[in-house]
Symmetry: C2
Subunit: 372 residues, 2 copies
């Protein structure tokens, strides 16, 4: 995947740098880990320090001094999950900031403008994500309504994006800090395959640089998620990266690549690291467990990351138990390494035609059950 | 200074690694910054994870995977400043843990044993530090009492240290994890020069591998501190490193080297970093200040640290304001670099005979007043 800030080898995993920083990890460590792209959250950056301030500083890359590609979401997901209040209508999402209660209106056009000011390499359209798994006709209708609204919003977002590209002088209030920014459309439709098909048709008809699958990993069973991906991904153009938003566990990466996904993001490796959960080739490991108190072996003997090469379970447990910040850093380094290394192995296996072998071996070793 | 874990170039500054980690900074970053020795706090390590656990894991170096020298304090200072309750008598210090209220007795012998189990390269004797500046005869008497008790405790501590060295089998309950551990005596006596002289005589008479000046930087005016150092340091053997405990601001380093000090430790660079204060060649800088919101220049244009080479005041302010952990890391990297770099420049100036020139230039640039 070629972007204004360089090439990203796919399939790729994007560590989440919510507020312009991947939590507890310095940029140089991310670079050493081989992160070729990170994700920034528009909702957070819009509220603090503000997209206009970032634009005046030259855009997000310059502001945070990260010279590799950045993808930004639209802010919609955080409005739904974090804001103190939200009201959705056709115009957009009215919400109150979770920080100071201030009132904001996020429209499809505004989400484009904010991301234009941030200057990410890939901007996402504003969509309405129904974060529940429908169980009855009424809920299914809500999913259809949201999908249809998302399609109308996508149309407006594309119009605004093309306006900023083609007639930048018509929007003097927006500082476009990355003229090569791509825009991805988002497929909605919940777990209903027919709605997904319809969403794909409507979104492709609008026409974006590429497409993402949204509205998954919101509580549905993992097999259902896999089925929706297996249905939807092949409907998307095969000459562009297909992005599965907000997923997932390490085995999800392999299973969704098998179903046609090229791009992932998830807070799981970093958030779980801060909560003391290491994700290893054998499965999740709760480092605070008393059984590790004097265990001088590395978290994952098969791992080549800085943490596993230098530190013992006993030390990492101690750091976590006493609340040292370094616990978050060392655990995050490991988890991000594990995710990026898994993607590296997937890419290599694809090149060498051994993906199915890797997939089999991965599942033989990895279990979602906590390690004994 | 030669230790079992390598040579330390003096004068040297020791970053404080309270609980087996310098807060917010990974070991490899400390090594890259040129930290040749760190300090560990016996009080904290004794309470969690416990010196016996660390001994069973092979000692502190192995437990925390830091292969360079470590100095440990005796735990006394934290008993005085942190414990939930403390009572001092000739036997030792009885105190309650600030973590769980449990009752402990720290004697001069116990402080030796704990540090023997930690296996630091330099162990400090337990002393009684009167953390007030005496203003009347009664308070001066208290300083004398504490100095005399410290001398008696030093005698007992030395006896125990030599016993562990020469007859290790006589103390089977202690796992000595570093047979080459040195022991430093501590000079007390507050700001009374006569008491300081007496303390030096009594401590040297006992005989330690080297000596530290304790009981300063506890609230006395900086000139008084300098005078006590100027009086005391020359009384100590000049073929061994003289250690000034718990000091200080960057200009203190230069002024105390000028008065004969070779070894420093202080939480100031790391603690202030976490509170958003950067120490630069021009003086302290409160990074949260609104004037830095869009300031794209580095914190200290004269600094070559990772933070200053890559990040702007605007970004560092943003990270601090939103509470990203990375703020603590990047600020700490800078402050530790500034301290270690100052020591490097001091050592170089001494070698080239230009120390007085460096001292003059440092004061011309550096001001303790916050930078505008």
């Amino acid at each position: 995947m070629i972007t204004p800030h360089g090439v990203v080898q796919t399939p790729a995993f994007m560590p989440v740098g919510t507020r312009g920083a991947v939590k507890a990890v310095a940029h140089r460590d991310l670079e050493d880990l081989g992160a070729e792209i990170i994700l920034g959250n528009t909702y957070h950056l819009y509220l603090k320090p503000g997209d206009s301030l970032i634009a005046r500083c030259g855009g997000l890359h310059k502001f945070i001094s990260w010279n590799r590609p950045i993808l930004t979401d639209s802010g919609g997901y955080q409005v739904f999950s974090l804001a103190a209040m939200r009201r959705i209508d056709d115009e957009g999402a009215t919400f109150r900031s979770h920080i100071d209660g201030s009132l904001h209106l996020l429209t499809p056009e505004r989400a484009v403008d904010i991301q234009a000011q941030l200057g990410s390499d890939i901007a996402m359209v504003l969509d309405e994500c129904v974060a529940t798994v429908p169980t009855g006709d009424q809920e299914l209708a809500a999913v259809r309504t949201a999908m249809e609204r998302s399609a109308r919003w996508a149309q407006r977002a594309r119009g605004r994006q093309l306006q900023l590209r083609e007639e930048p002088h018509s929007a003097p209030e927006v500082i476009v800090t990355n003229i090569g920014q791509a825009q991805f459309g988002i497929i909605q439709g919940g777990i209903d395959l027919q709605l997904r098909t319809e969403s794909v048709q409507r979104t492709i008809e609008i026409g974006f640089e590429s497409y993402a699958i949204g509205g998954l990993s919101v509580g549905e069973p993992v097999d259902v998620m896999y089925d929706v991906v297996a249905h939807t991904a092949p409907l998307l153009p095969d000459d562009r990266p297909r992005y599965l938003m907000g997923t997932g566990m390490p085995d999800d990466l392999i299973e969704c690549v098998a179903r046609g996904i090229d791009l992932f993001d998830c807070v799981l490796p970093t958030r779980n690291a801060r909560n003391g959960q290491l994700l290893t080739s054998h499965g999740p490991m709760a480092i605070k467990n008393a059984r590790y108190a004097e265990d001088m072996s590395p978290p994952d003997p098969d791992c080549s990351c800085y943490t596993c090469r230098h530190f013992s379970r006993a030390y990492l447990r101690h750091l976590f138990v006493v609340g040292e910040m370094t616990a978050a850093t060392l655990n995050s380094l490991h988890n991000i390494h594990f995710y990026l290394d898994t993607m590296r192995r997937i890419r290599e296996a694809i090149v060498f035609g051994s993906f199915e072998k890797l997939r089999r071996e991965f599942h033989q070793t990895f279990s979602r059950r906590p390690q004994i």
